[in-house]
Symmetry: C2
Subunit: 266 residues, 2 copies
């Protein structure tokens, strides 16, 4: 399993139909599930160092179609972190106050402080996806917004924040199965929104809008297209990418400001 | 193990020296550890209902002396929740901006919205503890602040938020052992602050200030004095109290706004 295969190179044009949704990285489900706990333990260890160091931040952006697995990823992967060092932001339909500002205002307010892992469950990219598809903004405005997003992300990455962006890529068949499963289980009805079916009907429009969004991939703020039909592989691959990213950031415990040997506790 | 034993009754005067720090609830460590996973699973299930319902919030307040176990409780107990539905707030020394407002301003801003579990790792009570001991406020001001805290908490509890406040009660010997362990382990040096020893020297002053803080216990916003010398018992008891509290709140999955049987996914 080579995480680089799933990264969008800067300047690369992505045609999502060429990217697999059901990849398994050459692993069986059992092999994948056996590998996950070790990765999650490593993640928690790296996060503690990031928190202790307090000099860098990690921002994880999650985007997907409905039922694409954002919430499951937060539960299984982000759940491995110490909650003290994580801030999850769920960006929903903007409030009146939020709409009275530029579209990045509410996003910027939730940028993680140094030492923290920020998780955006939906993000600034909603503003070039759902708005674009519903005609609230035209293509020109979408392009301007993508420019603003590039500039905003470069502000963050220039200030000690590493960004990793995940597009959870599922097939129409898998989405149908997951939506149906929500309908079939009364304790999942609260997760089902009949409006999701209207979005589903615009599958190809979303594909195009996502392909445009994926052009913001840079070395410091890369996009990964995660094959997400198999939940176990999605969790494994994202965990591996987070481990690799944090290892590259290489956070260190700070040097003590005292001489431990000279201290006696009364 | 009867959680009610550890709750401070409204109007009850607490003398902390009469409250055990090393209680085990009549359980062996093995028995306690065997019970925890079931409780944490139940917690996660109740939290999902709270989140789905979106009509109530739970606010968990953690206070303790240094090395009392606040961070460990967040990691082990809060770690069982789905991160999507949890907001942890670490209140540190107030910033200049925060000091330019009343002491509850920054606290109120972090009150959990309906559907969420809020965790205050340190809280409004710091403003009647450390400030009081260091003479930044006098006893009269401390008493006024406690009144403001009572009014503030009643605003929250009148608006759908249940509050549970935990004082993690450790002995001076246990604190000494934990601080020493931090000194002895270089990867724990970042958690050690030489200033903690000055606070430790004022043990009895803190005891008095905590006893005053515990008078804010009410039925809707109770304090629990958690015997915290044994980490496994602390985690078990807090988990049990949270389960009991959430069961009493009794969150329900909302009724669907659609007829599942009539929907066909194309």
């Amino acid at each position: 399993m080579n995480p680089d295969r799933y990264r969008v190179a800067p300047g690369q044009a992505v045609h999502l139909k060429d990217w697999a949704t059901d990849d398994n990285g050459g692993l069986s489900k059992e092999e994948g599930q056996a590998r996950l706990p070790g990765l999650l333990t490593r993640l928690a260890d790296l996060q503690e160092r990031l928190y202790a160091e307090g000099q860098q931040a990690l921002l994880m952006v999650l985007q997907a179609r409905d039922a694409g697995g954002k919430d499951g990823t937060v539960k299984k992967v982000v759940g491995a972190f110490n909650p003290n060092g994580v801030q999850v932001s769920n960006f929903k339909v903007p409030t009146e106050e939020e709409r009275a500002h530029d579209f990045l205002w509410r996003i910027h307010a939730r940028a993680p402080r140094h030492g923290m892992v920020g998780v955006f469950n939906r993000s600034q990219y909603e503003d070039v996806l759902v708005t674009r598809i519903h005609g609230l903004i035209d293509d020109q405005e979408a392009e301007r917004r993508l420019q603003h997003i590039r500039a905003f992300e470069s502000l963050l990455t220039d200030s000690g924040t590493r960004i990793v962006k995940f597009y959870l890529h599922i097939s129409p068949e898998e989405q149908k199965a997951r939506l149906q499963a929500r309908l079939d289980n009364p304790s999942k009805h609260w997760k089902f929104n009949p409006g999701d079916l209207e979005e589903r009907a615009r599958w190809d429009d979303y594909t195009q809008a996502y392909e445009a969004a994926l052009t913001t991939s840079t070395a410091a703020s890369p996009w990964y297209v995660i094959p997400a039909d198999r939940k176990w592989f999605r969790n494994l691959l994202i965990s591996q990418i987070l481990v690799d990213t944090l290892e590259d950031m290489n956070p260190q415990y700070p040097a003590p400001t005292f001489d431990a040997a000279s201290i006696t506790i009364q």
